[in-house]
């Protein structure tokens, strides 16, 4: 399955939930914010949220800033 993740094309496993995807990229998923196709998906929905082919995902978290 192909998705656009943080602006880049990526191939991922079809069976992935949002939760498992985030866990792949972050040690602390609780502070990651996920946006799927322009909509923010809250943490409680992640375990059951199935990623679709062609989805655009943004995963953001907090970094230092002025």
């Amino acid at each position: 399955m192909n998705i656009i993740l943080n602006g880049k094309l990526r191939e991922i496993n079809s069976a992935m939930t949002l939760r498992s995807l985030v866990e792949q990229f972050s040690k602390n998923p609780n502070h990651v914010i996920a946006e799927v196709n322009g909509n923010i998906i809250t943490h409680d929905q992640w375990p059951s949220w199935r990623i679709q082919d062609g989805d655009t995902l943004e995963l953001v978290n907090f970094v230092g800033g002025g």
Binding site: L5, N6, G7, K8, F25, S26, K27, N28, H31, V32, I33, E35, I40, T42, H43, E58, L59, V60, N61, F62, V63, G64, G65, G66
Partner: protein, 264 residues
């Protein structure tokens, strides 16, 4: 380290929350997370700014939140937003994280000077206030714009002292003074403060708080300079409260203007 002052000063109050430390710290550009944590602790800063970025998919970096002591208020900036709509999007993402809804609006469509777009900032403030955010807009000191920001519901107004990262201090001093005189919400001087003496200067003239980032993060000993900044902020505040005497002009012996009042 908390600065203890025995003065009769009311605490800094923003959106109903009180703070006894008027020194705010930005968390960008630190060489290491350890230096950041130590700087926050050494200065006793109670409000720090953070930003939102796409997570680094290759490096799995730790979230900066882990390195900020509990109890410190997070002020999420909308850096990266070039207009009000983008600022709103960032704010919503921040809110979704559950890390509070205090937003420092930065609408900057200028990569050369990083000057804030005052008009985009007003629009962003209106949009975010409507969605319940606590809004602290970063702006170029313009009295009309400051009034509009207050009207739009901003919790504070944050005029720049000088260009971000320039260490030029209070180039906009006279215009910040006007805001201090005319605007009733807290004035937080942000950007361009390069030395603790400049932070003291801002507080002495009546600013309610200062925000410093680059000068601490890029220093040789960030924790130490952060402490110096915090002390200078408190010293400036104390000086302001003590109402320094006005600089007097010299009198001379003749009284051409009012002599007639004392003639018999």
């Amino acid at each position: 380290m908390a600065i203890q002052t025995e003065t009769q000063d009311s605490p800094l109050t923003i959106a109903g929350k009180t703070f006894h430390n008027r020194f705010l710290l930005g968390t960008g550009k630190f060489r290491s997370k350890t230096e950041l944590t130590e700087s926050i602790t050494a200065s006793g800063a109670q409000i720090v700014t953070v930003a939102l970025r796409r997570i680094d998919l290759e490096r799995h970096e730790e979230n900066i939140i882990e390195h900020i002591p509990k109890g410190v208020t997070l002020l999420v900036n909308t850096s990266g937003a070039r207009n009000a709509k983008e600022a709103l999007r960032i704010a919503r993402l921040a809110k979704a994280s559950g890390c509070g809804n205090w937003i420092k609006i930065e609408v900057i469509n200028d990569s050369k000077y990083l000057l804030p777009d005052n008009y985009g900032t007003i629009k962003a403030t209106e949009m975010l206030v409507a969605e319940g955010f606590i809004v602290m807009p970063y702006m170029y000191p313009d009295l009309y714009v400051a009034r509009e920001l207050v009207k739009a519901g901003a919790a504070t107004v944050m005029p720049l002292g000088s260009l971000i990262g320039s260490h030029q201090g209070l180039k906009a001093k006279e215009f910040i003074k006007i805001l201090i005189n005319e605007i009733d919400v807290p004035i937080v001087v942000d950007a361009g403060i390069g030395r603790p003496s400049q932070a003291a200067e801002a507080m002495e003239m009546g600013a309610d708080a200062v925000l410093v980032n680059t000068a601490v993060a890029a220093a040789g000993n960030p924790a130490q300079i952060a402490q110096a900044f915090s002390l200078a902020t408190a010293a400036g505040r104390l000086a302001y409260l003590s109402k320094l005497p006005a600089i007097k002009s010299h009198a001379n012996s003749s009284s051409p203007l009012t002599g007639f009042l004392f003639e018999e």
